[in-house]
């Protein structure tokens, strides 16, 4: 028992199911115990009531009866003293005797002996009266007998008084004892009933506190963590492990869900980067470029328009053939680095369009400006030194096709790229290492129906 307790203490886990069972068992045991206890208590009260009815009440009644008898005795003694008639005196004296003989049934010893003395004194009164009558004429003797009768009478009355006190005292004592017993019984019943009623109340309070600590707290903690996970904040570790196994499991599940979610999010970022970037150069890929270009064309608030520079490395195949693919890749990476570091082109996006083709999309004021920018890029590429193994380095050139769509142009993305591609073709055929613009047929100004060309 102790061992299992300490084991429980160390693990501090209990399943919701066994907690429910324990609760049910406690309720069952308590109800049973309360029922038995109440039964015992009520039986006890019943027994006490029966005892009172069968023992205490008859006792009090017999005391009352004796008190009435004593009163009767007193009135008979008074009657015999006042009688002054032989026949009447005898009759009363016999009645006193018979009445006195009745006391031993249910009176105390002192009352019985008192009643006996009273009977003897009554006899004495009757005898003295008779002697007084017999000595009629001799006034002294008659007076003496009369004195004796009076003395016996007052003594009898005194004894009866004491009997009365004794009896009323006994009755009062018995009544008092009875009242006290009933009072004590009622008090103990009240306490027991109060206790029986209070216990479940207390139990409920304890249960509520336990529920708050072991049910609500872990649940709230789990909810808090779920919220944190949804807001992409780190989860809080559980301070105290929930005692209820199921809740502990839920808490653990939330934490592991949080870990999974953040892991997933991290992987998503990587995947997104993979989807948007070109793996070799780190530039945006063609898809990203198209999205960007589309949104650039859709922007109706911009000043000027959208320029597209389509850049193609000149004689890339021969670089590959001569220096190997590694150097070829190095060239592409160097070019990419250069393209992203161009800070004179506003809102630009550099992207690898495919193979040795790159694109820059940016906001330009007009086609002339775009053509000037492209020429600038040509010069920068030409000036770039690409280090090779040892002391050697190499240079390269690129041709650039330029197309421009003013704000609100209805041509669309594909047409714009197609135009840039045509311009690039012209740049290539025009001798490479140059920028050529292909403006639309309806374009205005001095470039109308003409191809702008700038040698690098």
């Amino acid at each position: 028992m102790l061992k299992s307790w300490s084991r429980w203490r160390s693990s501090r886990q209990i399943s919701l199911r066994s907690a429910g069972r324990a609760l049910f068992l406690i309720a069952l045991v308590y109800t049973g115990a309360a029922a038995i206890f109440t039964g015992v208590l009520l039986t006890k009260i019943e027994r006490e009531a029966k005892f009172t009815r069968e023992t205490q009440l008859p006792l009090i009644l017999s005391q009352t009866r004796n008190a009435v008898k004593t009163e009767r005795l007193a009135s008979l003694v008074r009657a015999i003293y006042l009688a002054r008639d032989r026949r009447l005196e005898r009759q009363i004296q016999l009645q006193i005797q018979a009445l006195a003989q009745g006391f031993p049934f249910d009176a105390g010893e002192r009352v019985v002996s008192g009643s006996k003395s009273v009977a003897t004194l009554a006899k004495e009164i009757a005898a003295a009266r008779q002697q007084a009558r017999d000595s009629a004429g001799q006034s002294t003797a008659a007076f003496n007998f009369e004195e004796r009768a009076t003395a016996a009478y007052s003594q009898a009355i005194k004894i009866i008084d004491e009997m009365g006190k004794e009896l009323s005292g006994d009755a009062a004592l018995a009544a008092d004892r009875l009242a006290k017993e009933i009072e004590a019984g009622a008090a103990s019943t009240r306490n027991t009933v109060l206790l029986t009623l209070l216990m479940p109340g207390l139990f409920c309070v304890v249960l509520l506190l336990l529920a708050r600590r072991h049910l609500a707290k872990p649940v709230l903690a789990a909810i808090g963590n779920l919220k944190r996970i949804s807001e992409n904040r780190p989860t809080l570790p559980v301070q105290t492990r929930p005692v209820l196994a199921e809740l502990a499991m839920i808490g653990d599940a939330v934490l592991s869900y949080g870990y999974t979610a953040s892991e997933l999010r991290r992987k998503n970022v990587v995947l997104q980067a993979l989807a948007e970037e070109d793996p070799l150069t780190g530039l945006a890929n063609r898809r990203t470029l198209e999205t960007y270009l589309q949104s650039a064309l859709a922007d109706k608030d911009k000043i000027g328009g959208t320029a597209v520079l389509l850049i193609d490395v000149d004689h890339f195949k021969s670089i590959n053939d001569r220096y190997g693919h590694q150097v070829g890749d190095q060239c592409l990476q160097s070019l990419a680095l250069l393209l992203v570091s161009l800070d004179r082109l506003p809102s630009s996006l550099a992207a690898r369009y495919g193979g040795e083709e790159f694109v820059i999309v940016y906001n330009a004021d007009n086609e002339e400006q775009a053509l000037l920018d492209a020429a600038f890029v040509c010069r920068r590429i030409e000036a770039m030194r690409i280090p090779l193994e040892g002391e050697h380095s190499m240079t390269m050139t690129a041709s650039i096709g330029v197309s421009f769509a003013p704000r609100g142009d209805a041509g669309g993305m594909n047409e714009l790229i197609l135009r840039a591609d045509k311009a690039l073709y012209l740049a290539k055929s025009g001798g490479r290492n140059r920028a050529v613009a292909d403006h639309p047929v309806q374009a205005r100004g001095r470039f109308s129906n003409a191809r702008g060309q700038t040698a690098g």
Binding site: R65, K69, L76, Q91, L94, Q95, Q101, G102, P104
Partner: protein, 249 residues
């Protein structure tokens, strides 16, 4: 209409059956034990009779009374000639073997009465004395056992035993204190008084009971309930005061 008639008929039948069931209790008493029970111009009277009537009224039953000689009274009950005996019958084991007893309805004790020259009621003091007693009573049984040196004279009923004392054929008479008190207040009894202390013995400690057939506890339970009620509602005390100067309960 037919339906209503049939209900009326059923009711009438029920009432008739109910009336037919009005219970009549047959009660026996001795009729020779004044003032408890005695014949006055052929009519039974006395404390026992009045108590019996009060109980019958409380139980809401009709009662018929008959006087039966003391020595035959238990036989008659066993022969089912009556349902109850209300005749100041004291409890004794011998009787309890044949009949069942109610709660006591009064208590008394046995005393000796006789000439004033007797002051002591002990068997030694009364050696050689002639003591009259009613036969078939617990006092007669007791005298035979406890007073072997005295002469026991049996009277067939209480008046016969009294007659033995009055006619000086006996020196002393044993009986119930209350009953003898009434006797001593009559002219015939005026020459006698109580002799010594009441005779105290567990054997004689007497309480008077109503008795019924062996096993008729149901009837006795009703009698006991009625007895309790007349004691509580004052009927008992009124009857008591009509016969005795103090309560004999």
């Amino acid at each position: 209409m037919l339906r209503r008639l049939s209900i009326a008929f059923a009711l009438t039948t029920l009432l008739a059956v109910g009336a037919g069931h009005a219970e009549t209790l047959r009660i026996a008493t001795e009729g020779a034990y004044p003032p408890f029970n005695f014949l006055d111009n052929g009519e039974l009277k006395g404390f026992d009779v009045d108590i019996a009537k009060a109980i019958c009224a409380k139980m809401s039953v009709e009662c018929s009374f008959q006087a039966v000689a003391w020595n035959d009274i238990i036989d008659g009950l066993e022969a089912n000639k009556y349902d109850l005996i209300v005749a100041s019958m004291a409890f004794s084991k011998e009787r309890a073997a044949r009949i069942d007893f109610s709660e006591p309805y009064y208590r008394s004790h046995s005393v000796l009465v006789g000439d004033e020259k007797y002051q002591d009621s002990s068997p030694e003091a009364l050696a050689g004395a002639r003591i009259a007693v009613e036969s078939g009573t617990i006092q007669a049984e007791y005298l035979k056992k406890a007073y072997p040196k005295s002469t026991i004279l049996l009277g067939e009923d209480q008046p016969a035993a009294r007659k033995l004392l009055i006619e000086k054929k006996a020196d002393l008479l044993i009986g119930d204190a209350i009953e003898l008190l009434t006797f001593m207040e009559t002219p015939e009894g005026s020459a006698f008084s109580y002799v010594g202390d009441p005779i105290s013995s567990d054997f004689l400690q007497s309480s008077a009971h109503i008795t019924a057939h062996k096993g008729n506890q149901a009837l006795l339970a009703r009698v006991n309930a009625a007895l309790k009620e007349i004691k509580l509602n004052g009927t008992y005390d009124r009857i008591n005061d009509a016969y005795f100067p103090f309560s004999i309960y």
